[in-house]
């Protein structure tokens, strides 16, 4: 406990928290710029925003937050030395991550078929840049979690050795944090 209370040793390690900070700052600044553009060209941006499927955005937010809850449960189970249960919850985490990517891919295909691809207008330029960048983060997160799942099943982690899982979990939750900001600003605020 003393170790995690040190500035140099946050849960998951200092490096992942520096990454999280840089990522949320980057997305945060980009979203502030988006808001500025929104108000400079309000009618056009509002019309484009209304072309987004808010229900799909809501569904994906539910899926990603639920995935984060599953990941938090993985950590709890490992701390309790319930490795088999941790493996099960890790499967659920990856499964819901896959569902997010599938639904996002479906939403992308709808937008492309409607002709609202990259270059359609400034709103959709922001939409594609920000959401595809986030999409890549989720893909990377899935790859990290898949490696962790493989090692977890091999018995490489336990109640006294779970730093890698904690680090992977922080990365996965970072995808939640970024998506919450994206969903709020791109889909909801006008």
């Amino acid at each position: 406990m003393e170790k995690t209370k040190s500035f140099l040793y946050p849960p998951g390690g200092i490096l992942i928290w520096i990454i999280v900070l840089v990522e949320v700052l980057t997305f945060g600044i980009a979203l502030i710029v988006f808001r500025t553009y929104f108000h400079q060209d309000y009618d056009v941006f509002l019309a484009s925003q209304n072309m987004l499927s808010k229900n799909i955005g809501l569904f994906n937010t539910i899926v990603l937050i639920t995935s984060g809850f599953f990941m938090a449960t993985v950590i709890v189970k490992i701390k309790q030395s319930r490795i088999k249960e941790a493996v099960k919850w890790m499967f659920f985490t990856i499964g819901t991550g896959l569902l997010f990517l599938f639904v996002k891919g479906w939403e992308y295909s709808i937008k492309i078929n409607e002709g609202h691809g990259f270059g359609y207008d400034d709103f959709f330029d922001f939409y594609w840049m920000l959401t595809s960048f986030h999409f890549i983060h989720v893909l990377v997160g899935m790859a990290i979690l898949s490696v962790l799942l493989f090692k977890l099943r091999k018995g490489d982690y336990g109640a006294s050795n779970f730093l890698d899982i904690e680090t992977g979990g922080v990365f996965w939750h970072m995808c939640d944090l970024i998506w919450i900001l994206l969903f709020t600003v791109l889909y909801l605020l006008h």
């Binding site: 209370k5 946050p10 928290w17 502030i32 500025t36 937050i65 809850f69 449960t73 709020t184």
Partner: protein, 80 residues
Amino acid sequence: MNRKNTILWVVLMLMMLFNFWLAEVSQTAVNWTLLVILIVTVIKFLGIAFQYMELKDAHRRWKIIFIVFILSFAVVAGLV
């Protein structure tokens, strides 16, 4: 299953649905709805960071950094 994690998940779901509903009923840029949506977003952000990412167990400087970030973001996003 951790009780605090489960409660947070339920609260996050409710706040998300509330934000969604609020954005749907306000079709124009009304100041108070913008404010409420941003406040709920700040709470969701900090809930995930503190409970799921275990920021609550980190040094207080880390907590301050993330609280300052999300509050600054919300204020600027609300003002521009």
